[in-house]
Amino acid sequence: MLRVFKEALLGFSRAKTMSLFAVVATGFSLFTLGLFVLVLLNMNTLIRRLEDKVEVMVYLKDNADMASVGMAIEDLGRLEGVDQVRYLSKDEALERFRADLGPDSDLLQDLETNPVPASLSITMKPGFRDTLHVRQVATAAGDLSFVEEVDYGREWIRRIDIFKHLVGVLGAGTGAVLSLVAIILISSAIKIAIFSRSKEIFIMKIVGATNGYIRRSFLIEGFLKGALGGSAAAAMIYGVSEAFAKHYVQITRFPEDYYLLTVLAGILMGLVGSWISLGRHLRRV
């Protein structure tokens, strides 16, 4: 086994151009795919951050009856996609308003009466923070008799909707193009391998190598090439991910598990590639 391994390493260093092409094809495909995933992950993080701000504010009339408000809280809580309904008394609402203003809150210091109405803050579950669901909740709240006004950042949500849609479409398109490029690269590496191996396989057969031996030695070679391509891709992704992390603190890094996954994907590509390029030669006696 050790010998077969050594032999594969030798064969590998010898058929340099072809091997290099296979490694580069694997590495490049996985690198671009990894970058793509990295960008997508960050887009998702960005979207989630934007969505976290989605909130339906329901301002209550001053004379609102607490019993009906309590019932409304339960009713609203049962609407599709609603996560939490919180009641903010006039004082709490003022506190929050001050917090939102930050340093400027001094302006509110000397007020004699509290101008901020009591309100309900409704947050949505992830996946329901879009125009459709938010508007349903806003409409339901607006219909209540003791509600003065409902505000849910209509424009803000609409922009998030468009952004999500755009990321989805561009992501799918880019993913499709990248996959196609990867398939073309890998399959041409396989074609080159079939061609350049035919003489070697012929010689191996003539001197009495078993199909098992031939398959084993080429699979080991494929394994090594794939591992090399995958590792190179992982290293480059790491470089890019870290470089960005240095400049933009808020970046979502490439998850650790995915590095392992990249190397494994490379190995799988190498093995499958070798298997395919051998199939044609080994079928005959």
Binding site: R3, R14, A15, K205, I206, V207, G208, A209, N211, V285
Partner: protein
């Protein structure tokens, strides 16, 4: 040792190439297989190393019968055969010694044994000083000698050579023939397919098989060669002297 019993074979979309071949080759024999291009020499050799199976009849070589041998046993037959081609079939990225050693590696011979066997074989073929040369650095004749060395590495009982001199100058061709005859004197049977009849000159005592259009039309000593009366074509090409 080698038997052909009423063997016929063809290729898909080509039809029959060899028909009704009967022959026996004994241990340690030297045999010329002649016939014009396309007469089926290479096909007959392919039957020997089980690259092809007969469509009817039976080919027996050592204890391998074309009727019974399993596909995965074929490599073990080939380890007992040495095969040499017109185009040498050397790996360009390996030295002469590595090419010879390769045949042994592939069949699982221990490395220590390879290290002692390869120099000995190279020496036998007068290639000791070329052990570290790559095929591109060798002449055609030297490359063919490396190929012969590789074929002999596994100590085969028969050496099969398909047009071994087809790419070589006449003098070098004669040299290769002398090497093959010498190997034969050490006990290895040899079958040489060729359409270069000048190689037979001066070797009248050896056995000759002549193919014409896929039929075995002559089986006897070189010196007694004549085309059967009813055969057509290729007569002129078959004549020597």
């Amino acid at each position: 040792m080698i038997f052909f019993k009423d063997v016929s074979v063809g290729y898909p979309r080509r039809g029959t190439v060899l028909e009704g071949i009967n022959l026996h080759i004994g241990k340690g024999e030297f045999v010329f297989l002649t016939g014009p291009s396309g007469s089926g020499k290479s096909t007959l050799l392919k039957l020997l190393y089980h690259e092809l199976r007969p469509s009817s009849g039976e080919v027996i070589i050592a204890n391998f019968s074309s009727r019974r041998v399993k596909k995965r046993k074929v490599p073990y037959l080939r380890r007992k055969l040495g095969i040499v081609f017109q185009d040498f079939g050397l790996l360009e990225n390996r030295t002469a010694a590595e090419n010879v050693g390769y045949a042994l590696e592939v069949t699982g011979v221990p490395r220590s044994e390879i290290r002692t066997r390869v120099p000995r074989i190279l020496n036998t073929l007068g290639l000791s000083n070329k052990a570290r040369s790559y095929p591109q650095q060798l002449s055609g004749g030297e490359q063919q000698r490396v190929a012969i060395a590789r074929a002999l590495a596994s100590e085969p009982f028969v050496l099969i050579a398909d047009e071994p001199t087809g790419n070589l100058d006449p003098e070098i061709s004669q040299e290769i023939m002398r090497i093959l005859l010498e190997i034969n004197t050490l006990g290895t049977a040899i079958i040489v397919a060729t359409h270069d009849y000048s190689l037979l000159k001066g070797r009248e005592k050896y056995r000759r098989l002549h193919l014409s259009d896929g039929m075995l039309v002559y089986d006897g000593p070189v010196e007694g060669f004549r085309m059967p009366d009813n055969s057509t074509g290729a007569q002129a090409a078959g004549e020597i002297t």
